[in-house]
Subunit: 238 residues, 2 copies
């Protein structure tokens, strides 16, 4: 049989592909990755109802430590692993495919819409003017992220900063405070109170909000709940 | 009424989102952008059949010169403009939204799966290790593309090179020949016969092919028809 690695898209039912919706219907067990990305309540309810008795919520541990068991299950019946976004953008799941290949278990990848492209496109900025993308963890050192913004800026490029979605998610104001701290420590002069940035909340979801303003304003704005992201523009082409 | 700007995804029916399929059903006229990306024969046949009498094939000229007429149509009834991939990644369509906003015509964006993320993810390379993405035109100077590959490589980053899809599309061998010419002219020593690269053909479509090899081998390989893309890896993390 087949292991399906299925991208759910931006986290709402709307953004599942026709292929994803179709293929998982035929699967015997459906594991839902609950740790690499965002799943809206609506989508969660829909999946629970639609796949009652077949759906298993999977933590990182389930998909790593019990990987062998899941893969052997896929040898016998159709198994789907559902992942928010594109199932391979976070790369966590590539090990799953490597292991499946070793065990000669056939697999199929179903791409999903990723925040990696949607956040870029929604701003109207040119995709070709983006440098390296980075992430900011909720409890971690922001200085590496800050260095990447600097590296891109020096070449005139925009930076997409994806914000941690775990445990309720890192917010735009929370992320900006962390970056202002990094500035205090590194003194690059890149993110300051008067720096222009773009705050992105719940891209592709109903409450989607895109706000272009200086940091001081972005930090006091109110937003719908995460997932949030930030863009620091490089040279603007208009 | 509303102007829907709808991403079709990777070019097959499979990769349309549930939302896209649903929303366009209610539209009075459906314009299909035939110039910014790839649409498979199957998808074209499906759209033609499904939206018989409503579907208009639109060239760049139609969507630029006749923009005003289309927008005024959207004021009265639901209009959809279908675009391969994500409708805003190519940025051509942002002017449409700017004009709609000026005329106070409401619009909705429906994201699609973009090659910009799918090509990155399918390789298993870390998205965070990609530098700036670039494109290579079928009839154009490859030296700018070559400079971007160099710029990324100097920072240890991977480069995604999207290949022109117009007029049958630029192939992997065709693109590599152009880049070898750029090397002859610029002498950066980056793309040579023994350089490792990744050839990507028809990502997300049934005949999908990913081939990792040195340029000499990639150039003589046979591929399914375009769309094609290339990745030049920077530092590999395994």
């Amino acid at each position: 049989m087949v292991l399906y690695l299925v991208g759910l898209g931006l986290g709402s039912i709307d953004y599942m592909s026709l292929k994803a919706a179709e293929e998982i219907k035929n699967c015997y067990t459906i594991y839902l990755d609950t740790y690499t990305g965002f799943i809206s309540k609506d989508l969660m309810n829909w999946l629970t109802k639609e796949f009652y008795g077949k759906l298993r919520l999977a933590t990182r541990r389930d998909l790593e430590d019990n990987l062998g068991r899941i893969l052997e299950e896929a040898r016998e019946t159709g198994i789907a692993i559902l992942v928010p976004g594109d199932p391979l953008i976070a790369t966590t799941h590539i090990s799953l495919l490597v292991e499946a290949a070793k065990r000669k278990i056939p697999y199929k990848i179903i791409h999903g819409i990723s925040i990696y492209s949607a956040a870029v496109s929604i701003t109207g900025l040119q995709a070709y003017k983006f440098g390296r993308t980075t992430t900011l963890a909720r409890f971690g050192d922001p200085r590496e992220t800050y260095r990447i913004i600097k590296e891109n800026l020096e070449r005139g490029l925009h930076t997409l900063v994806l914000l941690d979605t775990a445990d309720g998610g890192l917010t735009i104001p929370g992320a900006l405070r962390k970056l202002l701290e990094a500035e205090d420590s590194l003194r690059y002069g890149i993110v300051r109170e008067d720096t222009l940035a773009i705050g992105l909340a719940r891209i592709g979801l109903q409450e989607e909000l895109v706000k272009v303003a200086i940091v001081r304003e972005l930090i006091t704005e109110s937003y719908p709940p995460p997932p949030h992201a930030l863009i620091f523009p490089g040279e603007l082409h208009f």
